[in-house]
């Protein structure tokens, strides 16, 4: 059983132009998939379709083996969490603890268990000291970590990040990206990350490139980012590590094509 299966999925907002055109995609359990592409390529629409906020024009969406319908929507959402782009517009509670509790309240978790779950989830995103803090006193990165905690509290199998780092400063971005990687590695949660940030895409196990509603490429970060023709056609930025490695190669220095900064440092240290 795969985490998410999309079959011939099409979607249109106005009934005329299709935002997504005949997308078929399989996301295996426990994988970390990054979806990249320009604005208007249909990335965020895809996320909203998977969580059932939008209804497809045609095609089917299977989440954990179940085809999404109006009837099982709530049951499916028990297993899927989503972190949106704007940190302010998804903070529902008046304090961190209340916000984490919101999802638990909706899922009728008994009151006596809530405090424990809230503390555990806050600890996982290092927000234990802020349980009584109000959203106005938190940074964007902290708010996004609270959003992640709110989802972890419901122990989902799939978490979708819909450009969750695009409104954050570099520090917030790094802390959230670190969090995403940790979740995927330690808890084997399937991650689907929609992102503009190529550094983040490079840490994924799979990259899907969307272009004007169709899948332009799919593969490991190494495969996708080293496809020079595709990258220059879509004018996508490369991760810094790869960009640097290419620059070294252009100067005749023999170095492996690396994906992230850590690998770059290692490769540079091994140069003779």
């Amino acid at each position: 059983m795969e985490a998410i299966e999309l079959e011939h999925l099409s979607f249109s907002y106005d009934g005329q132009t299709d935002v997504l055109k005949d997308i078929s995609l399989t996301i295996p359990k426990g994988s970390y998939t990054a979806i990249v592409g320009h604005n208007g390529s249909g990335k965020s629409t895809l996320a909203k379709l998977i969580i059932g906020l939008l209804e497809p024009k045609s095609g089917t969406i299977k989440v954990l083996g179940q085809t999404l319908t109006d009837h099982n929507l709530k049951a499916v959402r028990d297993h899927v969490g989503i972190v949106f782009q704007n940190p302010d517009n998804q903070f529902i509670g008046s304090t961190v603890a209340d916000d984490i509790a919101f999802g638990l309240e909706n899922h009728c978790v008994p009151t006596k268990d809530m405090q424990r779950i809230i503390e555990e989830s806050a600890a996982k995103v290092s927000m234990s000291d802020y349980l009584n803090a109000e959203p106005t006193n938190l940074s964007g990165g902290q708010k996004q970590r609270v959003a992640i905690a709110g989802i972890l509290a419901m122990s989902p199998e799939i978490i979708i990040f819909d450009e969750s780092t695009s409104m954050l400063d570099p520090q917030g971005k790094a802390s959230v990206n670190e969090q995403i990687r940790k979740l995927n590695e330690a808890k084997n949660i399937t991650i689907l990350s929609i992102t503009h940030d190529m550094e983040e895409a490079a840490q994924a196990s799979n990259v899907v490139v969307l272009d004007q509603g169709t899948i332009a490429a799919i593969g490991t970060p190494a495969d996708v980012f080293q496809n020079d023709a595709l990258m220059s056609r879509l004018r996508l930025d490369l991760p810094f590590g790869l960009k640097a490695a290419k620059a070294f190669q252009a100067h005749g220095i023999e170095i492996d094509a690396v994906m992230n900064n850590a690998q770059l440092v290692e490769a540079l240290c091994q140069l003779k």
Partner: protein, 265 residues
């Protein structure tokens, strides 16, 4: 922009802060009725004793509670003028030709001023000692019995708490838009009335657009997290009454009963 007098919560951690919001709301209701009982000036003595006790235990300064009255001074003066001109009962105090002033003009104005002042102090004590969210929860629990006749108590409480949650966010947004418009040459302070109205419109339209946008995203986030207004939910915060609550409610009822008796004497 940040000193909006919404009855700000003061985290003083007093015995009254820890009281159950339900009992505080009920006490406020009882005291409001008591304030409006026609028990004469002597009837305000028990209420004043109650308020003094509440202020003492909540560690609030009387000046803090009275601050909210400042903008109402003009209203009080206006009331007095109207009463002097209209009131035709009581003893005649001044008589200059057609201009006659009766004593009731002053006593009636005094009643209104005293009542409003007492109400404002009582409300200030409530809002200063109760977090907005607890207040919402208290209202929700108190409205629960009315759910049987179709009143959506939980939905009302959710709307209030989201509105409260977004006040600071929208104030930030307003400041941002004000700066953005000012940098484009919009002058919010000077100019004729029409120019000012036009300038305010340039503030309000983008603010509304962004508020609707936020509402849309918030609805998505709530739905994605399994919120269903018609479904039953459990609650994280549970309210519990203690002896302090029972004592305070008994005190309020005694004050109410005393004034009721004073009405008949």
């Amino acid at each position: 922009m940040n000193n909006i007098a919404l009855g700000r919560y003061l985290p003083l951690n007093t015995i009254i802060n820890k009281m159950d919001p339900r009992s505080k709301i009920l006490i406020l209701l009882v005291m409001m009725i008591t304030v409006f009982l026609p028990a004469g000036f002597i009837g305000y003595v028990p209420i004043l004793i109650f308020i003094a006790t509440a202020l003492y235990f909540s560690k609030l300064k009387l000046t803090y509670a009275l601050r909210a009255l400042k903008p109402m001074i003009w209203m009080f003066i206006f009331l007095l003028v109207i009463n002097v001109l209209v009131m035709r009962t009581g003893t005649l105090l001044i008589s200059w030709g057609w201009f006659k002033v009766y004593s009731d003009a002053f006593s009636q104005t005094a009643y209104i001023i005293i009542r409003l002042t007492l109400m404002i102090i009582l409300c200030t004590v409530l809002t200063a000692t109760t977090k907005p969210l607890d207040l919402t929860l208290g209202i929700e629990k108190l409205l629960k019995p009315f759910e049987k006749i179709g009143l959506p108590a939980h939905v009302i409480a959710m709307m209030i708490s989201i509105a409260l949650r977004f006040i600071p966010t929208l104030i930030d947004e307003t400041n941002r838009i004000m700066n953005a418009q000012a940098s484009r040459g919009v002058d919010l302070e000077n100019g004729t009335m029409t120019e000012k109205i036009r300038a305010v419109l340039s503030l309000i339209v983008p603010l509304f657009v962004s508020a609707f946008d936020r509402a849309d995203q918030l609805a998505d986030a709530m739905e994605a997290r399994g919120y269903d207004p018609s479904a039953t939910r459990t609650r994280y915060k549970v309210l519990k009454m203690t002896n302090v609550d029972y004592f305070a409610m008994a005190f309020a009822l005694v004050v109410f009963a005393t004034d009721l008796v004073l009405c008949w004497i």
